[in-house]
C-alpha cells in the first residue's frame, strides 16, 4: 500500500489539475464564447466523454469467462432501471447492490 506522502502528493496533483480546469476558463470567457470550435466541442464533449469513461470502466471485463456474468447482469439492471425510472441514485445503488450480491453469493471462489 502507498505511504502517506504519496497519497498527499496524489491528492495535491489531482486537486490542482481539477481546480485549474474549473477556474481558468473564467479568465478567458470572452475568447471562449466567440470561438466556434469551442462552442462545437462544448456541445458534444460531455456526452462523448461519458461514453468513453463508460468503456474505460469495462476495459478489463473478462467477456469469455463465466464471472463476467455478475457485472453484465448489474449493468443490465443499472441501464434498464435508468431508462425506466430516470433516477440516477436508484440506478447506481441498485446496480452496485446486484453486483456485490452476485460477486459474494454466486461467483465466489
Amino acid at each position: 500500500m502507498p505511504d502517506a506522502p504519496y497519497l498527499l502528493a496524489a491528492t495535491a496533483v489531482s486537486a490542482a489539475v481539477t481546480w485549474a480546469l474549473r477556474a481558468l476558463p473564467f479568465t478567458a470567457l470572452k475568447r471562449l464564447r466567440s470561438s466556434g470550435t469551442v462552442q462545437y466541442l462544448s456541445a458534444r464533449m460531455p456526452a462523448g466523454v461519458m461514453v468513453i469513461l463508460f468503456v474505460y470502466c469495462l476495459r478489463d471485463l473478462p467477456l469469455t469467462e463465466p464471472r463476467a456474468a455478475a457485472p453484465l447482469t448489474a449493468l443490465a439492471v443499472t441501464a434498464g432501471l435508468h431508462l425506466w425510472r430516470r433516477n440516477a441514485l436508484l440506478s447506481i445503488l441498485a446496480g452496485t447492490t446486484v453486483n456485490v450480491a452476485l460477486c459474494g453469493l454466486v461467483f465466489t471462489g
Binding site: A15, A47, M50, V51, I52, Y56, I92
Partner: protein, 214 residues
C-alpha cells in the same frame, strides 16, 4: 437532490477502506479534490501507487469537461475573490446542473455558494462515514467498485439522451474508445480522447461553417 451525494459518498468511502487505503483518504479526497467520478478512479490509481504524472493526466482527461461549464455558470453573481475562488473550486457536475437549471435563475450568489458548501459537506460526510464503516466490516466486500461503472452508465445515458438528434457524437465516442482499447490498451483514456477530439474537429470541418455561422 443534493442528499443523493450521501449514499454515493458512502459507497466511495467503503471502497476506499476496502481497497486498503487508510480511512482519512476518504475525507482528504472528497474535501480537497472534490470531483466525484474522478475520486472513484483515484482510489484505484492510489492503491496501485500509479505515477503522479498518470494521476495528473487522468484528472485532466476525466475533468476536462469542466472547461465548458464556465460558458454558462453564473459566477458573476458571486461576490468577492474568496467566494468566487470557492465557487469555481466546488463547481462539480451537481453544482453546475443545479445552478444552471430553470429554478436557479433568480438565485443570488450567496444562495449558490451555500448550496455548493452543503453539497461539499454531504460528500465529505458521506465518504468519511463510509470509510469508517468499511474499516469496521470483517473481510472485504467484493464488487463495490461497480459503483463507478454504474455512475458512468447513468451519466452516459443522460448525456446521450439530452442530444436525441445527435447520434454521431455517441457513435464517434464509442468507436474512439473501442479502437483505443484494441490498439492502446495501456493508454486507453488518452488515446480515446485524442481520437474523439480529432474526430469531432474533422466532423466540424466537413460540415463547414454552415451550422455554426448560420
Amino acid at each position: 437532490m443534493g442528499l443523493g451525494l450521501i449514499p454515493l459518498g458512502l459507497a466511495l468511502g467503503m471502497l476506499i477502506t476496502q481497497t486498503g487505503l487508510p480511512w482519512w483518504c476518504a475525507s482528504l479526497f472528497t474535501a480537497v479534490v472534490y470531483a466525484g467520478s474522478f475520486e472513484f478512479m483515484l482510489v484505484g490509481l492510489a492503491a496501485a501507487a500509479a505515477p503522479l504524472a498518470t494521476v495528473a493526466l487522468t484528472a485532466l482527461l476525466v475533468n476536462v469537461r469542466h472547461i465548458f461549464y464556465a460558458l454558462s455558470f453564473p459566477l458573476h453573481r458571486v461576490n468577492g475573490r474568496l467566494a468566487k475562488g470557492y465557487s469555481t473550486f466546488a463547481l462539480t457536475d451537481e453544482a453546475y446542473a443545479l445552478a444552471t437549471g430553470a429554478q436557479a435563475r433568480s438565485w443570488s450568489g450567496a444562495r449558490m455558494l451555500w448550496l455548493q458548501g452543503l453539497l461539499h459537506l454531504y460528500w465529505v460526510g458521506g465518504a468519511t462515514a463510509g470509510a469508517l464503516l468499511g474499516s469496521l466490516l470483517p473481510g472485504s466486500v467484493a464488487g463495490l467498485d461497480f459503483a463507478l461503472t454504474a455512475l458512468f452508465t447513468v451519466l452516459a445515458l443522460d448525456a446521450v439522451g439530452e442530444r436525441r438528434r445527435d447520434l454521431s457524437t455517441p457513435v464517434l465516442a464509442l468507436l474512439s474508445a473501442l479502437v483505443a482499447r484494441l490498439l492502446f490498451p495501456g493508454e486507453l483514456l488518452l488515446a480515446a480522447f485524442a481520437l474523439f477530439t480529432a474526430a469531432l474537429l474533422m466532423q466540424r470541418r466537413a460540415r463547414g461553417g454552415s451550422t455554426c455561422h448560420a
